[in-house]
């Protein structure tokens, strides 16, 4: 169980309260008007922002004061998910082991991850030589070898076209199922939420609400969400 226990996140005058739980192995979308604090919520969970109050618990373990790298969390950001001067293989290898040389066993795991995301022969390329979709696949291969129990997506596919984005989301869903990973993803597109997230957290007016069933929430949106979604 992932628990936001009476959390308060402050950023200047901005405040966000979060007090809810997420079941392991679920896929949860986080939606809400822009500026409502969706990314702030993920940043706090990943450890890039400190809590002013409350605690973060994963399977009864307190994460609140852990370094971002020590949390059971892998995260993909809006941009800058790859180091442009490193090869595909090196980028993925950093997820395996950022500070030491890889053992032979680890090298083959990196290669397997590349095969799994469909980039078997691309290991020696640099990110600049890849398409947007391929770059996303490299980042996902790295998530695979990181073997963290939670995966946070802060709209990493926002720059991709609709078809490619759907493809990536499906890949995320497949990988999460194969590796027993709990997924939290920020999205501004309700279709993304419907596509892979059974539950959705609505963030609005300074509060991150209890997760609800995605279809129900989107079919009968409360007023704030209705304003955001428009006539749809």
């Amino acid at each position: 169980m992932l628990k936001f226990d009476n959390c308060l996140i402050e950023n200047g005058a901005f405040q966000l309260k979060a007090d809810f739980q997420i079941m392991p192995l679920s896929s949860v979308a986080i939606i809400g008007p822009s500026g409502s604090g969706k990314s702030t919520l993920l940043e706090a969970l990943a450890g890039f922002r400190s809590l002013s109050r409350g605690a973060l618990l994963w399977k009864d373990r307190d994460l609140t004061s852990l370094h971002p790298g020590k949390r059971p969390i892998a995260m993909l950001f809006q941009d800058g998910n790859l180091f442009p001067h490193l090869t595909v293989f090196q980028n993925v290898a950093l997820g395996m082991q950022a500070n030491k040389r890889l053992t032979n066993e680890e090298v083959s795991q990196v290669e397997m991850a590349l095969v799994r995301v469909g980039l078997a022969d691309m290991g020696l390329r640099k990110p600049a030589e890849l398409s947007g979709g391929q770059r996303s696949r490299v980042a996902l291969a790295r998530v695979l070898v990181q073997r963290r129990e939670l995966l946070l997506l802060d709209e990493p596919f926002a720059a991709l076209g609709p078809a490619l984005k759907a493809e990536m989301l499906d890949l995320v869903a497949d990988l999460a199922k194969e590796t027993d990973t709990t997924v939290l993803m920020v999205s501004h597109d309700p279709n993304d939420a419907r596509r892979i997230a059974s539950q959705t957290v609505l963030v609005a007016e300074g509060v991150a609400h209890q997760p609800q069933a995605t279809a129900e929430l989107l079919d009968n949106p409360p007023a704030v969400l209705r304003d955001y979604l428009g006539g749809a």
């Binding site: 890039f48 950001f77 001067h85 490193l86 950093l94 990181q146």
Partner: protein
């Protein structure tokens, strides 16, 4: 909770800053300790102080006044070679002073080209030694700098203003008063202050073109107190005066210049709709180009002859210079990179202050302090090369930080979070990510440091004995002995080494660098 935003520890940078501060402040304390005020100011000290202020004032005023029409011409004309010319304006920064002086002597000297032409008309040759010579050389070095800084002011005027002025049908004169004059009022004082501060500490120019009781700068007086009288107390007292001067000037310059950049985005000419006759602009551009290129090409021409009969002394000195420049560049990078990383990660204060301390101390003041510090323990001339490399590195530090810090900040902003979420250690982040991403800036900073050190004729002259010489010092000695052919060849060699070192390092940094 410092780790929440920082992928690497600021402590190595703070450590480097403490070292730099201790080095500079330590030598200054030594100077203050030794300063012998008992005899008070000698009359000659007052003369030196007055001459220092006078030449710096003239140099700054003339550089800026000439730079204004040149910058204006460059701002509004498009012509073939404009970009090369603007790039060339950056060259004097890394040009060895002794090489430029050699070139200036070839053109403006007693038996130089201009005197030859004057002779044809029965006119007497130019006298270059003394105030004129010092100011001439300073204008040679600083006119390009002033032009770049003022040109930047012109480029920063929004294009809409000129468009609006054209639409309102403003005449050239009104336009100048309404748009360009306010810009100059804002930019010029800073440029004046920067050049004034630079000219206060210039040593090699005064050493070669000044001299004599009436054309001695404080910096030169320190050298003379050392070498002629070996009066350390007086050298230290003069150093204290010089320190007061440079600190005041540096503070004023920093305040007024408001971080005037070193020339980004100057390729685009300002589009204007008023039709000014191009003749005047053409004149100014030719004048500035000629003033820059004639001395340089004279070094190349006269050097080519001498290059093939250089005495072996020169080659030994060149080897020494390469060694010193290499060491100085390494020292610089070891200090500057952690400092840039620390500032980039948000540590301000001490690290930033240590970074600009170098602007306040002049090389000869640092040299005097170091001399006093090491003399009880070792023969200072044994340390001549090490001290030269160190002082050069400290002098290049403010420039290097200015180049490296923005890049370091960028790397931390764009890759810091990913590195942290991968649990990457600060050391690995520094080596694998930061150094790799900053290669172009590191190459540029290293190139500047190497070229500056290669051409430096300053502290080495305090420490070196007759057997030791860097290439610039060797050229100075050859000129002093009137071995002009050898000096010409050696000057060309030094020019090639300095520019070559800069080019190699700068290129090396940019090669295969992914954007």
């Amino acid at each position: 909770m410092a780790w929440r935003t920082k992928p690497l520890s600021p402590y190595p940078g703070i450590g480097a800053a403490v070292l730099v501060a201790a080095f500079i402040l330590g030598t200054l304390v030594a100077v203050g300790w030794q300063a012998d005020g008992s005899k008070g100011f000698a009359a000659s000290d007052w003369v030196a102080l007055r001459f220092t202020l006078k030449q710096a004032t003239f140099s700054a005023l003339i550089s800026v006044f000439l730079a204004i029409p040149v910058a204006r011409a460059l701002a509004r004309r498009r012509f073939w070679g404009r970009r090369i010319l603007i790039a060339l304006l950056g060259a004097p920064f890394i040009l060895p002073v002794i090489v430029a002086i050699f070139g200036l002597l070839q053109v403006f000297g007693r038996s130089g080209w201009i005197s030859d032409i004057l002779g044809v008309f029965g006119l007497p040759p130019i006298r270059i030694y003394g105030l004129h010579g010092v100011v001439l050389a300073h204008v040679f070095f600083n006119l390009p700098l002033a032009t770049r800084l003022i040109l930047q002011g012109w480029q920063e005027i929004p294009a809409e203003r000129f468009r609006l002025a054209a639409q309102l049908g403003l005449s050239g004169r009104v336009m100048f008063r309404q748009i360009e004059w306010p810009m100059l009022q804002r930019v010029a004082p800073g440029v004046l202050a920067v050049i004034f501060a630079i000219c206060l500490t210039s040593f090699a120019v005064a050493l070669t073109l000044g001299g004599g009781p009436r054309a001695t700068t404080v910096e030169l007086a320190i050298y003379q107190a050392f070498t002629y009288d070996f009066d350390l107390g007086r050298a230290a007292l003069l150093s204290a005066i010089q320190l007061g001067l440079t600190v005041t000037a540096a503070v004023i310059a920093l305040k007024l210049s408001n971080q005037a950049g070193f020339g980004a985005g100057m390729d685009k000419p300002v589009q204007r709709w008023d039709s000014v006759s191009p003749i005047r602009d053409f004149f100014w551009i030719c004048l500035a180009t000629g003033f820059l290129l004639l001395p340089l090409s004279s070094v190349v021409f006269s050097g080519l002859v001498g290059l093939f009969e250089l005495p072996s002394l020169v080659f030994r000195a060149a080897g020494v210079s390469i060694l010193v420049a290499g060491a100085s560049t390494c020292i610089l990078l070891v200090l500057a990179l952690p400092m840039a990383a620390a500032i980039g990660a948000g540590t301000k204060g001490l690290v930033e202050i240590a970074g600009i301390l170098g602007l306040a101390a002049s090389p000869l003041v640092l040299g005097t302090g170091l001399f006093i510090l090491v003399r009880p323990y070792v023969n200072p001339s044994d340390l001549a090369l090490l001290v030269t490399a160190l002082v050069n590195a400290v002098m290049a530090l403010p420039f290097a930080l200015r180049i490296l810090t923005p890049a370091a900040r960028d790397v931390i902003v764009s890759h810091g979070r990913l590195a942290q979420s991968l649990n990457m250690s600060g050391r690995v982040f520094f080596v694998r990510i930061m150094l790799a991403r900053m290669r172009p800036q590191i190459g540029f900073a290293a190139g500047l440091a190497a070229a500056l050190s290669m051409g430096d004729l300053g502290v080495i002259s305090l420490f070196a004995d007759a057997q030791t010489a860097t290439l610039p010092l060797q050229i100075y000695r050859l000129m002093g002995a009137y071995k002009m052919d050898a000096a010409a060849g050696a000057a060309l060699l030094l020019l090639c080494l300095s520019m070559g070192a800069f080019w190699l390092l700068d290129r090396g940094g940019r090669r295969h660098a992914e954007v």
